[in-house]
Point group: none
Chain length 238, copies 4
DNA sequence: AATGAATGAGGGTTCATTCAT
DNA sequence: TATGAATGAACCCTCATTCAT
């Protein structure tokens, strides 16, 4: 509908910079809107309004709603990747179990603190990955975590901490499953289970479950409660 | 273009039955369409066409698109419940670990063979559960599996097979996570991992992972490695 | 934009009849609008407004703007055909020259009194006949005039009135050229020639030219000004 | 999406010349685009892209889409005029019938080899000549052919070759009708007649028809095969 | 002279839904 | 119970044009 807005023009606005701004604002708005309503429900007008711009500019910068969505996916994926890379530097190579624990924690907290990421991936899966398929950039990104995991597991196997047949891919999927599903499906789960899943206590508890599950599934020897150091810590009973 | 069909009217057919028919056809069509396109993308016309009926009939029987979706949710949920109930009779009460394994298997195969179930729940979660909340029937259904699980776990704990602190709810979520996520997100995961997740081999492998994970997370004593490697393998050792 | 209209609902409106009405009104309006603005310039909203209906109904009855245009072409073509058929019954078989003259007159007056016909064909030609190609009905219609002409010419040749090598197709094109071009291009021609082409006098004169040209091009013997009987009569002789 | 090109700027090139270049390129592109899509369908962006320039430049040089179209009309009209003038020098004053024949041939071939000319005039007529009316230059050009024709006819009348009442204007319109209509309407005519009108054979034949028609309509005495000299020559039967 | 960014008015089309038999 | 017709809001996208360097 391209409504008029009372845009306060910068007195000496450098157009070029403003442009970057507009593109960025649209992208940011698109992330929010698509995350909230999904691709189908994400209305172009809502995005442009939220961005403080015009429908037209979406087409100017991105060409179409679909291409905008692809850009959104690329954006959130690469942010996720960067976070993963940043994580790696903090891992303790000498303590594979601890490192694995940290990695699981990272994923869990990333999903938890980036609901858009979860929502957008969910939406894309409902579209059968049709947008992701259109992006070569997306295919290139792929998982950094996988190689990190691989290193950790190899080290752990050498140290006799992990089962020799653990596969990075499986552990990755395990971690992802546990963290993602809880976040993506909590609405129906809450109804189903008759309890609130997003309470702080519930969240802390589930984190423990993840930790326990991941380690007991990978360790060679029975799991003795891993001393999780992270902020949330021991917390919940057991 | 609201459909126009040359419907061959049954010369006399019992009205009431025909009605049931129409209602049922619409419901069945709605499941397919909403599963494929999501709630937002599920067009009323597509449903009525697929049902071999008219848009108008949807309103006649269900009142609105939203109410139709609620009916769809109720339907797939209760079918899921019935399947769960049917499962219980086959469980071996004397072998808690085996029963747990069977339950995990059941869930995994249910998701796998009922993609609409997965898709519809996903869609509903994208709608933040707003339709589920409107259904009192839905709230009543709740999980039958939970009580079944409870029984199994108690028995196992008594037998010293399971860790005494396992909680049915957690195990339920664990099983669901592992099965659901793999099915709901395989499109983006395939791209991410660079491999086909829905190949038969991949599916069989993931089933093994689920089994192993669930058991190692619940058992008191270390899991003795099930010989996972072969694709189909002996499976569900126990 | 689908504006609201203060439609006076028929107190006991028979829906079915009203429907026919709506479809017809839209078609009629479309003829006017497309004739005035061409296919490209013919706005859907203008059509629906002129028809006293809604944009939506155009899609309900015709499916798309393009299909509506095809329907328009089919309509004006078949009306033209009917007029041609009606003409035939009035022709004097014993007077081939007179019959030919009448036929030329018919075409000229048809173009003159049906500017939409001319405009729509012109528009369709600017679209390279893309809509016409989509209509099988249109291809079936083809010219009735051609066979009528054939008969007239054969008779005339036998009587020694027409040149033995005249071809119906050529005469048809000749008649069409002379009548159509004058009507379709009078705007630029008026500027070019510096005179009004649509004055009554000018029109009568051009009719004489057509008559003279057609007959002198087809007659075996030099044309002695044919005593044109039709209404416009003697007019601008010269 | 307003174009974006990696234009290689001439390192120094004379500004003025470059400007002329750009203007010229735009005009040339506009002719093509407007001819192909008509005034309404001729998109500003398509023109600027085809010209290898920017939308903005069209406004810089021409002010508006309408004014650009006027410029296009002026351009094609004056080119037509120049061609007509060039023709005159080749006419044989001593052979009025031959000259007339040549003139008819010229028009026919001009239309045939300049489809843009035909298309643009057609488009302008669909706009009811509104652009032509805005150009004083256009009105000044007017037809050179008319005076040439006048001379030829006078000479022919004096020689007793042409009917004393032939009028240049009528002959002009006759020639134009026969040549223009065939070219402008061949798409629908092909469908109507069920034959290809733009085949070489069909074109040669129609040229003969034009020749025959023009001469038989103007000559005092019955037409005896006019000795057409042009390339295509006698060719087709008669 | 050239150009990237912005603008706002529609354009065709589709939606879920209701009317009136 | 079933059905064709009607409704109006909104959706994605495109257009010609102007701003501001």
């Amino acid at each position: 509908m391209t409504t008029k807005k009372t845009s306060i023009k910068p007195a000496l606005g450098v157009r070029a910079k403003q442009a970057q701004d507009t593109r960025g604002k649209i992208l940011k708005a698109a992330i929010k809107v698509f995350a909230k309503y999904g691709y189908e429900g994400g209305r172009v007008e809502r995005i442009s309004t939220l961005a403080g711009s015009y429908d037209r500019m979406i087409y100017y910068y991105f060409g179409s709603k679909e291409k905008l969505f692809v850009a959104v996916l690329e954006n959130i994926y690469s942010q996720f990747n960067e976070a993963e890379q940043a994580l790696e530097t903090t891992l303790d190579r000498e303590d594979p179990a601890g490192a694995l624990s940290q990695l699981a924690d990272f994923a869990w907290h990333y999903y938890l603190s980036h609901p858009e990421f979860v929502a957008l991936l969910t939406s894309e899966n409902m579209s059968k990955g049709k947008h992701a398929k259109k992006s070569s950039r997306l295919r290139e990104i792929s998982s950094y975590a996988l190689s990190v995991l691989e290193t950790i597991l190899q080290q752990g196997i050498r140290q006799g901490v992990f089962r020799p047949d653990v596969r990075a891919r499986d552990v990755y999927l395990l971690i992802a499953s546990l963290g993602y599903f809880y976040n993506s499906n909590h609405h129906t789960l809450s109804a189903f289970l008759g309890e609130a899943l997003m309470d702080e206590a519930a969240l802390l508890h589930w984190r423990e479950v993840i930790q326990h599950t991941v380690l007991s599934a990978t360790r060679l020897h029975p799991v003795v409660l891993p001393p999780v150091k992270a902020k949330a810590s021991r917390a919940v009973k057991r």
